[in-house]
């Protein structure tokens, strides 16, 4: 008798606890999150209400710099506290949110350049501690991973509210100036790196090859523009290479100039772009000598270089898909996915696999604070992962942080 009473009591107690849990979960679905990212050359601040990005401001847009905004990576400028204050004010203004309304402050604590990370972290700590807000440390790469889950200010986006479950498990291809990774995501917040670059990142290869072509900095975008002028014969040659022969491996050259497709023979899922970089240096020297004043070679060359990078990415991605047939989705993230040639091919591959295809809106592909905010949203709601009170002051930068 007594034991049954106790059991009932425990039962009631459990029900109550569950209830509390549920309500506490819902409590943050519409929380105002201020997100900060200073891991890159830019300072970015975003304001979110739940999953909706109300504003997302990047320092180069605000024209703070005396010099060409965001183009020349002068670190001293990045480290300048003034930038972040101005970007912060602008983000609040555009979101029509007052400082008092912010409940969570999310900040990138790694990976990135230590001195740059520190600027964001110090600002976030100060704001959270003095204004009594909760501080959410975020891994920059989780931001890229979850950028596709961002909703616009009207609440529209690829993945509707409470539909996140339909996405996982998933594979993510994260490609940026600093990273090239294939990540297995069992669920939100549960990641495993399957492959990554052993030397240069994909975006870095673009900038360096552009530099070899003597195209200034940053030259990645210029290569893409030049590729747009590639001769019509180029695509014929390239599509000739596209013909798949089941018995033969994919062609190991990217086009008729003979640039190698990196890591075609490696069995793992890692990337490496330093060999391609070297091959490009040689090819550029040859082409320069051959054509001297006529720079038209650069069009076909650019197109073939992009093809080499994109084919390397694609080969490893399809290998990963074959190894993990159970995945429901393919997630793309990172600034290099703004390259129209690369994304076209990645898109074609994913459509063939009939998996869900998640790619963020263009402005959320390259580094931005909106993606830090969305990652914070899930850290808050799924993991209750935040710091409060004195704990806030303990947060430190982690320049080499991994997923």
């Amino acid at each position: 008798m007594l034991s049954s009473i106790i059991l009932t009591m425990i039962d009631e107690r459990l029900k109550l606890m569950n209830k509390i849990k549920i309500t506490s979960k819902n409590k943050y679905k519409e929380a105002i999150i201020l997100a900060i990212d200073t891991s890159c050359d830019d300072t970015s601040v975003a304001v979110l209400k739940g999953r909706r990005v109300l504003s997302s401001v990047i320092s180069s847009q605000v024209e703070l710099h005396k010099k060409w905004g965001g183009v020349v990576p002068t670190i001293a400028k990045r480290a300048h506290q003034d930038n972040i204050e101005k970007v912060y004010q602008e983000a609040l203004k555009r979101a029509r949110i007052k400082e008092e309304e912010i409940e969570f402050v999310a900040v990138t604590h790694g990976p990135g350049l230590a001195i740059a990370l520190e600027v964001g972290i110090e600002f976030a700590k100060n704001l959270a501690y003095t204004k009594k807000k909760k501080l959410v440390p975020i891994n920059h790469m989780e931001g890229h991973m979850l950028a596709s889950f961002i909703l616009n200010s009207k609440g529209n986006g690829a993945i509707a509210l409470n539909k996140e479950g339909t996405v996982f498990p998933a594979l993510a291809l994260l490609i940026s100036g600093n990273h090239s990774e294939i990540v297995y995501a069992e669920d939100i917040n549960k990641y495993k790196i399957l492959g990554e670059t052993l030397d240069d990142a994909a975006g870095e290869a673009f900038d360096k090859v552009a530099r070899m072509m003597n195209l200034g900095y940053p030259g990645g975008e210029i290569i893409t523009l030049l590729a747009g002028r590639a001769s019509s014969t180029w695509s014929n040659v390239a599509s000739g290479l596209e013909e798949r022969n089941e018995r033969k491996p994919l062609a190991e050259v990217a086009g008729r100039l003979g640039l190698p497709v990196p890591m075609m023979r490696s069995k793992d899922l890692n990337f490496s772009f330093s060999g391609l970089k070297t091959a490009c240096l040689y090819k550029i020297k040859n082409l320069r000598e051959k054509y001297s004043e006529d720079t038209k070679w650069s069009y076909d060359f650019s197109r073939e270089f992009i093809n080499a990078v994109s084919r390397s990415l694609l080969t490893k991605l399809s290998k990963a898909i074959k190894l993990h047939p159970e995945i429901k989705s393919i997630i793309i993230g990172g600034g290099v996915s703004n390259n129209k040639y690369i994304i076209r091919e990645v898109g074609a591959l994913t459509r063939k696999t009939q998996k869900n295809y998640l790619i963020p809106e263009s402005k959320f592909r390259s580094d931005n604070a909106g993606m830090i905010g969305i990652a914070a949203y899930y850290n808050i709601n799924n993991l209750e992962n935040w710091l409060e009170g004195k704990k806030i002051l303990e947060l430190d930068r982690k320049p080499m942080l991994r997923l």
Binding site: E63, K66, V71, T74, L113, I115, L215, G216, L226, P399
Partner: protein, 365 residues
């Protein structure tokens, strides 16, 4: 304010009207191959002031200017090899090429660092106007600050305050422009080849000591091994001072591979990747009883020695630390001074290409 619709037959009249506006220090809105731009005489102070009252929030930021061709550009900026390359292979087109200015435009057009952006739009009418005008005019997008880039006059004029509208003297309406991204801005004042080459020579000249180790490596793996070998040579010396490797060679020369070798020798298990983007990567190492940090630095994107101070490089020049600096030749004299103060030892590592896979690598003290 006059609004005139542009069609293929009335370009002569439009050019005339635009020239009249420019000569009076007025402002006009024009189509380009990207979005609508706003132009005014870039050499006239009053015209630039007027533009600044239209674009209110452009404090301190330089404006880019439209020129007709490379010849006109040369009057206003110094065109180096890199810039010339861009002009040749891409202009006219949607690129703004930043070069060192010659101070021949009105104050506030060049940046405070004396740089100026040059634009040669791929648009016949605009090229005709600037050719006839004989001087550059501004090429900033026609929207007011914080508003979206305008691709139609309708979008531009929507909600424009009368105060701003009054400042515009002429609008050339070419209808709805195809939505092409605004021009890519490329800085050619950075990482100039000359500086890099000079630095490299300096190292050769000043090192009167003989090569301590040299190798011809045939693959990336061999370069890594050579890096380990070099590190091993010093690991048994009592490292009471920092040990700094200056890694000097072209892009793709094997500098990062060499650094991987140092890390391998130091039993570092983390993946050593190129620090180009992060500029400085920090690893902890433990070799026997010795513990310290291995610092991998890449100055490729750095223009100013002060930036190396900002990232805290100086703090790393301390006991037991091993530092590898890619492109150290860019700042070799400054770095040498800093390292000398700490009593540290410098190892110069010079990378030379032989062919696709083979490198000649030599190290000097």
């Amino acid at each position: 304010m006059e609004l005139i619709k542009y069609n293929k037959n009335n370009s002569k009249i439009i050019i005339k009207k635009a020239l009249a506006v420019l000569k009076n220090g007025g402002i006009f809105v024009f189509p380009t191959e990207t979005c609508y731009g706003i132009g005014t005489d870039a050499t006239k102070k009053s015209a630039i002031n007027k533009l600044y009252s239209y674009k209110t929030r452009r404090e301190g930021k330089p404006l880019s200017v439209v020129v007709a061709d490379i010849k006109m550009a040369q009057k206003y900026v110094e065109i180096n090899e890199m810039a010339e390359n861009l002009y040749k292979s891409y202009l006219p087109g949607p690129i703004t090429v930043v070069s060192k200015g010659k101070g021949k435009v009105a104050k506030g057009v060049e940046s405070e660092y004396g740089t100026l952006g040059i634009r040669i739009p791929e648009h016949e009418l605009i090229l005709d106007i600037v050719k006839n005008f004989g001087k550059p005019f501004t090429a900033t997008s026609a929207n007011m600050s914080y508003l979206p880039k305008p691709y139609s006059i309708k979008a531009l004029l929507k909600n424009m305050p009368a105060k701003n509208l009054e400042l515009i003297d002429l609008i050339i309406d070419a209808g709805k422009l195809p939505h092409r991204e605004t021009s890519t801005v490329v800085d050619t004042t950075m990482n100039s080849l000359n500086i890099v080459r000079e630095g490299q020579l300096n190292i050769y000249k000043k090192s009167d000591k003989k090569s301590i180790l040299s190798a011809q490596t045939e693959s990336a793996e061999e370069t890594i091994n050579f890096g380990s070998m070099n590190m091993l040579k010093y690991i048994d010396e009592p490292l009471s001072k920092p040990l700094v490797f200056f890694l000097v060679g072209e892009l793709g020369g094997g500098k990062t591979q060499f650094a991987k070798g140092i890390a391998r020798c130091l039993n570092i298990k983390d993946l050593v990747k190129s620090p180009t983007f992060t500029i400085l990567n920090e690893y902890n190492y433990k070799f026997g009883e010795r513990r310290g940090k291995f610092i991998h630095v890449d100055t490729w994107r750095i223009e100013d020695i002060n930036d190396l101070e900002t990232i805290g490089l100086d703090n790393y020049f301390s006991v037991n630390n091993i530092i590898a600096i890619e492109w150290a030749n860019k700042f070799s004299n400054d770095l040498k001074k800093k390292i000398k103060k700490t009593g540290g030892k410098i190892i110069n590592v010079i990378f030379n290409y032989l062919d696709d896979d083979r490198r000649a690598i030599e190290t000097y003290e």
